[in-house]
Symmetry: C2
């Protein structure tokens, strides 16, 4: 049940100026001059399965996903686990730390991930300049949450997982990495066994082809047909 924290040694200082996702990031609007006034942003490497933070932890830092995939999970009173959001490249993790003193979810990497670590001190100091981007990132968080309800918690398991495959990677991406069946179940709101059977089913339908462990080639047309009805 317990996943280790990322060891301290997977952090690194990096320069924002040349960041490959600067256009997507919170700091998109800042000038190099703005950035030069701030201490260097740390780069966090988070291996698949590692926990970034837990629900209830005091939140003093937010993150931007550079690479990889993270899940946000919460527990129901009866202990049921539910994944309420999947976060990809460009998404911000832990935004609630800017408003509230603890994190709302447990954030765990589903694929090996790289993140920018942004202490909220910096965010507050630059809040005026960051305002438009902050709002955009909040907006993204809401969109992401609604996507989970709308696409991944509606219809049959077959349809849900077809939609998951469609959102897991951009349409032009050659291949598409999935994750453990237990987690697939927790995103779709079904059991692990149903998730497994649904994946098998998509393979048989020719909607996806497994080219490696949890690595799939997708037939977008077939996936879309299934996602929409059947």
């Amino acid at each position: 049940m317990w996943t280790p924290r990322p060891p301290a040694n997977c952090r690194d200082s990096v320069a924002c100026e040349g960041c490959d996702i600067r256009g997507l990031a919170l700091f998109a609007d800042l000038t190099d001059a703005d950035l030069s006034l701030e201490p260097a942003i740390e780069d966090v490497r988070l291996p698949a399965g590692a926990t970034l933070y837990r629900a209830g932890d005091p939140g003093a830092v937010i993150y931007t996903v550079r690479e990889g995939l993270l899940k946000l999970e919460q527990y129901l009173p009866d202990g049921t686990r539910r994944i309420v959001s999947l976060l990809r490249r460009g998404h911000v993790v832990g935004l609630e730390a800017t408003v509230f003193d603890t994190y709302e979810h447990t954030a765990i990497a589903l694929h090996d991930a790289r993140l920018c670590r942004l202490p909220i001190g910096i965010i507050n100091r630059l809040s005026e300049k960051l305002h438009p981007q902050l709002m955009k990132k909040w907006h993204e968080s809401v969109l992401q949450a609604h996507e989970c309800t709308r696409d991944l918690a509606t219809g049959s398991a077959r349809r849900r997982i077809a939609r998951l495959f469609l959102t897991l990677a951009p349409p032009d991406a050659g291949s598409c990495r999935l994750f453990g069946r237990e987690d697939v179940g927790a995103v779709l709101g079904v059991t692990m066994e149903t998730a497994s059977r649904a994946v098998t089913d998509l393979k048989k339908s020719g909607a996806v082809r497994e080219t490696g462990p949890n690595l799939f080639e997708r037939d977008l047309a077939v996936l879309e047909r299934i996602a929409a009805e059947g």
Copy 2:
């Protein structure tokens, strides 16, 4: 399928200074002096069933719910309707208009509602002073969305509707108003028939007692037991 727009005559100018939900509202931090510089805020009355705005409409105004209940709905490619959020007193509707040029959802009143109408011009003009409250409201929107996934789209229909009853009104509220079964189904991700049967089931279990049309008295202890595992 079509619901009429609110007629223009259900608007009224009101003074924010004495607003009964000012503590909950976006303008909580503003002084009376700040407010006196702004044109009066309009009060919108929205009868149950009426549409506030539709997905794709150009968004030039956001709303605060003073009273009543609203749903945010979206459609899947196949036409399936899904309610992705329920908004109550104090919640903000249409926040995305501050970031994007159109609304993301269709917003419809489930109960008779009263809202403050806030043109985004005002929001932008006061954005600096509003910044902390805006962030709080975004945060609320995210919480609300995650609640929908976590509580209302997980487990059996019986458990889902028990949780719906628990969130529909504060614990100390004497009674609790429900809404049409079609909509109950769209919130829970089940059919209307299943929603109807689940309500009947809760009545038989003594978890709720119908005291009028769609008006219920709740037994919180029983509801919580059912919500957690039954």
